[in-house]
């Protein structure tokens, strides 16, 4: 699987040494994104999903962070060997980012047109008038109404949904090979979230750009992603095609996350809850990090951390006793 990957990461570790102790934010993850694919990185806050993406892009301050990896290869290049200038060239041109909060991601004292122009001027070798034309076209492509007027407006004059569209237009502007979207619609209203997700999906399919989606919302994953990677406490606990995992999760944590999603179609008198909380990153439990919260856990789980093993050619799970429902699992419990 690693030969044709656009982005290949092996053995990524991120630790933050602090006065109070060492925080192991990411404990050795492997991931691969293929051209045109949408990979979702799912987990709760503090599981290391955002830190991983920032580390891959070289955006983590070192210090305080310590980043180690066997491989970070993007499009044939070893990203770890590049200097800051070369990295800056790749970010924005070949890898773009969409952040959660559009208001802080945009420059408040610059018109959105000029901010879009910058991408075309810097990465596409256009002159000013070409850039303006391309910017207006880019705004139109993401469904911004009257793009010529919007071009002159400032971020505060736009609604939240419009701002998020501007960020999407900006991310796609230089035709990157990979876009990393960190919680792109979490801050938006229900009806507006749907509009923006639809735009994002249409743009991604049209351009064939690979997308790395970072989110905690499994419903967004269901709508957008092809493959899923579930993280818990700095480790990958389950990975595979979205359709299979949402239907038959193999890891108890994935199952818990799925059951926690509030539903409209059933009537509950109680909400399903995973007991306890995410472990303190400075003081993680022994064995499987999830065992104190897992209803299936046995003695083995308290002692040894399970390895990530394959269930089927496409699926992997880190569990001593993967759930029966997961096809191919040699489960020991009912």
């Amino acid at each position: 699987m690693s030969q044709d990957a656009l982005l290949l990461v092996e053995g990524l570790k991120v630790i933050f040494p602090t006065d109070a102790g060492i925080i192991k934010a990411v404990e050795g993850i492997d991931l691969a994104i293929h051209p045109g694919e949408c990979l979702a990185l799912v987990g709760e806050s503090g599981c290391g999903k955002s830190v991983s993406s920032l580390a891959i892009l070289g955006l983590l301050g070192t210090p305080p962070a310590l980043v180690r990896a066997q491989t970070i290869r993007f499009d044939g290049q070893n990203l770890q060997a590049l200097n800051e200038q070369q990295m800056a060239q790749i970010r924005g041109k070949d890898i773009a980012m969409i952040f959660q909060d559009a208001l802080t991601a945009l420059n408040p004292v610059m018109s959105i047109g000029r901010q879009l122009d910058e991408v075309f001027l810097k990465h596409c070798g256009m002159n000013k008038s070409q850039a303006k034309e391309a910017s207006i076209e880019a705004l139109r492509a993401v469904g911004v109404s009257s793009p010529a007027q919007r071009y002159r407006q400032f971020p505060h004059q736009l609604s939240g949904g419009m701002r998020q569209r501007v960020l999407i237009a900006m991310a796609f502007a230089a035709s990157p090979k990979l876009i990393i979207a960190d919680e792109p619609t979490t801050a938006l209203d229900v009806t507006i979230q749907m509009q923006v997700l639809e735009e994002l999906r249409a743009m991604q399919r049209k351009s064939g750009t690979a997308l790395m989606l970072i989110t905690h919302d499994l419903c967004v994953v269901n709508y957008l992603a092809d493959r899923i990677l579930v993280m818990y406490s700095g480790k990958i606990v389950e990975t595979g095609p979205v359709k299979q995992i949402l239907k038959r999760p193999a890891h108890p944590y994935t199952e818990g996350l799925l059951t926690s999603v509030p539903r409209l179609d059933t009537c509950n008198t109680r909400f399903y809850q995973i007991p306890d909380q995410v472990p303190n990153p400075m003081n993680k439990p022994s064995g499987c990090h999830f065992h104190p919260r897992c209803s299936y856990a046995g003695e083995l789980c308290k002692q040894t951390m399970p390895s990530l093993r394959s269930l089927s050619p496409q699926r992997e799970v880190r569990c001593h006793f993967p759930l029966q429902k997961g096809k191919g699992g040699d489960s020991q419990h009912a």
Binding site: G160, D189, T191, M194, D217, L264, Q273, Q277
Partner: protein, 316 residues
């Protein structure tokens, strides 16, 4: 317990030195009643006026028009001491548990703060009450000497809830209490809120932008859009047979884990509350809009027992 009558709130906005003074009409004629022990779910998108309405209910925002009755008394006509007494009887839980707690206070001090302000409690009484509250919201007694930064989001929300109920209020206003929390913690806090409602007989005004949150917890629900109710009624009925096209589009836009169902997308943006369009405020985005909707403002009518909608062409 709580009755709101024809409430309207507007804020003046200054556009320029010589331009005409304009107003943001945040709430436009809202009426609602909540019985003792009931949970009322207030749903709407950002900017629809749900938080402004909550502020008016709790006495933080004097309405431009209309009244708020708390246990039969007009809140804004009360004398200062009577207002303070009523105000102690209703408490608020905020969305963001990170900014709602003073980072320099320990948990004991945070939870005892309302008792300090009210006065008349001995140190021992306060400590006893704090221990009781910690137990009630599922925190351990040792936690009282720790600081907010030592806790996760869900635990901080528990502290916020403990503080809110410390003076035995009868009405709790919950402004998006679970929106900032992780999925697994989300369910824990919802269950805690349901338990407190049952055990202590508390009344809630539960504000959320998420329909799925409100569905299982509330007895009745109000769907707000641009400052007024589009639909209002018993929760089960509103979710099973929504009358208003806006409620339909809200429900259709909810993403699910269902792999067959494609969500339906409502086009257009929410209009500005400064220039509320004439006629029905949802007409610009409504798939069923007719010429009449652009001209005439629909009023809330009872189409089914207890279920009201403000629409010329409700889905029956």
């Amino acid at each position: 317990m709580l009755k709101v009558e024809n409430l309207a709130i507007s804020f003046p906005v200054k556009a320029g030195l010589f331009s005409k003074r304009r107003h943001i009409k945040a709430v436009r004629g809202v009426s609602l009643t909540i019985q003792k022990g009931q949970i009322f779910g207030l749903v709407g998108e950002s900017g629809c006026g749900k938080s402004t309405l909550a502020q008016a209910v709790i006495g933080m925002q004097r309405p431009t028009q209309g009244q708020v009755f708390f246990k039969g008394d007009d809140l804004y006509a009360l004398s200062t001491p009577a207002f303070r007494a009523a105000r102690q009887n209703m408490q608020m839980v905020f969305q963001d548990p990170f900014s709602a707690l003073n980072p320099r206070f320990d948990v004991q001090r945070i939870i005892a703060e309302p008792m300090h302000i009210r006065g008349g409690f001995s140190g021992e009484q306060m400590e006893g009450r704090v221990l009781e509250l910690l137990n009630l919201v599922g925190l351990s007694p040792e936690d009282r000497h720790r600081y907010p930064s030592d806790f996760s989001g869900g635990q901080r929300q528990r502290i916020g809830i403990a503080r809110a109920i410390s003076l035995h209020p009868e009405l709790l206003i919950l402004d998006e209490p679970v929106s900032a929390l992780d999925v697994s913690v989300h369910a824990q806090i919802m269950n805690l809120l349901m338990d407190l409602n049952e055990e202590l007989g508390l009344t809630y005004l539960f504000i959320s932008h998420n329909l799925a949150d409100v569905k299982d917890i509330s007895h009745s629900v109000g769907v707000m859009y641009l400052g007024s109710f589009m639909e209002y009624g018993p929760t089960a009925q509103v979710f099973a047979q929504p009358l208003h096209p806006y409620t339909h589009s809200l429900l259709a836009a909810v993403l699910t884990l269902d792999q067959q169902k494609e969500p339906v997308i409502t086009r257009g943006d929410i209009p500005s509350p400064i220039e509320v369009p004439p006629g029905c405020s949802f007409a610009s985005r409504c798939p069923l809009a007719q010429p009449k909707c652009q001209v005439e403002t629909p009023v809330l009518l009872e189409y089914r027992p207890g279920q009201l909608a403000a629409c010329h062409y409700p889905v029956i």
